[in-house]
Every structure is written in C-alpha cells, then in structure tokens.
Subunit: 141 residues, 2 copies
C-alpha cells in the first residue's frame, strides 16, 4: 500500500476491532506499515470528523457511523479479493496489491454488479469452470 | 478524473495521435480537463523522461517507447471499459469514472486474466447471459 488514506484507516480499525476487540495506535501502524506518528495524526482527524469516539483504556472505538463505514469498506475489500481469486490470481501479494489499489475507485453501481457476479460464481462453479478451463492462467516461471 | 498522472497523459496523447494524427497542448488540456499551463509542465517532464520527441510543427510526437506505452495504456483502458459494459453498467459517466480511477492499479497478471475473461464473454454470449439473466441490474429510479 502507498500512503494509506482515510478509507484504509477505517477498514484497518474495523478489522482490528473485529479480530481483537480493540484497535491500538501501535496495531494500526503495524497493519498499515506506517509510523505511529502518522497514525496519531490521522486519528485526530478521524475523531474530528466523527468516525472515532474518545479513546477507551484499551484503544480506539469507532462511532456508529464509523462502524457502518468500516463494515462496508471491509466488505468491498473482500468482494474484490474474491473476484481476483476467482480469476485465478494465485499470488497473495498480487491480490493484495491490486485490491489495495483499486478498491477506492469503484462506484456503488459497479460494486453491486461485482458482488452479484461473485455470488453467481460461488453458486454456479461449473458455469465458471467453463471459463477457467478454456483460459487457464499462464504457468509461473 | 482527479489530477491526471503520467499514464493519463500518455494515453491521451496516444488517443489524439490516433484520432487526429497529432496532439497539441490545447487538445490535451481539453481532453484532460486541465489548464494548458499544467499540460506544458508535464510535457517537459515527459520529454525529459524520453516519452516525447521534440515538438513538430503540428504538435507533439511520441517516441517509440512512448507509442508502445500509449498503445498499452489505451488497451488497458478499453479492456476495463468492456468489462464494465459487460457487467451492464449503463451510464457512460459511471463507466468512465470507474475506469479512470482503477486503471492505474492493476498488475499485469490481473489485466491478463481480465483480458481473457472479456474475450471469453465476447465469444460466448449465451454463457454470459446466464449470469445477466439471473441477476439483472437494479432499474434506475
Ligand atoms: Mn483494503
Ligand atoms: Mn484512461
């Protein structure tokens, strides 16, 4: 990920909250591969904008609006990830790189259609296999 | 498009070269919705980096390397556009917005797989119709 933006923060905080019950500045910094100073700066902005509540003793708490947004951002990331896996992109680094790059730029319309496609692929694996069998990905060197 | 980057310039210059035989600063500015001053500044950088040759009397000329890159960038744009049209995104503004946003972030691997998918859809319309018929896009208000 290049410089993470507000969406990356909210997604990471939501992930940490789900996984550990709380999100600390140090966890966020580790997850986003940036300095704790950068995280603290963005945290102030997220509080000002109503995404985060006052700090609790174990870490940061998303507001209602912050949780709704975090949930949606994580769902978006996961749909794109599943789509790339269905395309048979096999290297995790490549999937991660592409999803982190493209996820911020999709309209609601396109995301809805991609969500429908991923669900249709999941429910109709033989249908999707017709594509996969005809166009196998190039073998890795 | 937000601030166009180097890839957007090379794509636009290649498009203009294909359409009109040449690209002028004024055409590029119009195409990218920015000032001629911004274009002139980027043009200098593109020349320094070997993408553009000296100015000819009618406009700018891409170098060999610039043409190869422009051709590839336009192909990438068009593949993504065709994929979104296949998903049944019907508003041109939405397609344009999404493609302009996401196109800079795809790995070669993912683009190759998307290219294969778009070709497979083109060659197997009844196959793809199974998805479209089961999951029609929401009607517009
Ligand atoms: Mn993400
Ligand atoms: Mn483009």
């Amino acid at each position: 990920m290049s410089t993470p933006n507000q969406e990356d923060y909210l997604e990471a905080i939501w992930r940490l909250t789900q996984e550990k019950g709380y999100a600390r500045v140090s966890d966020i910094a580790e997850r986003l591969h940036i300095s704790q100073a950068s995280v603290s700066k963005m945290i102030r902005k997220l509080k000002e904008d109503g995404w985060l509540d006052v700090e609790r003793y174990r870490g940061l708490a998303l507001t209602e609006k912050g949780m709704a947004e975090g949930r949606q951002l994580l769902a978006r990331h996961q749909i794109l990830e599943r789509f790339l896996l269905h395309l048979d992109i096999r290297e995790n680094d490549v999937v991660e790189h592409d999803v982190e790059g493209i996820e911020h730029y999709f309209s609601t319309e396109t995301l809805e259609r991609l969500t429908a496609l991923v669900a249709f692929i999941d429910n109709n694996p033989e249908w999707w296999n017709k594509f996969l069998q005809k166009t196998p990905p190039a073998p890795k060197a």
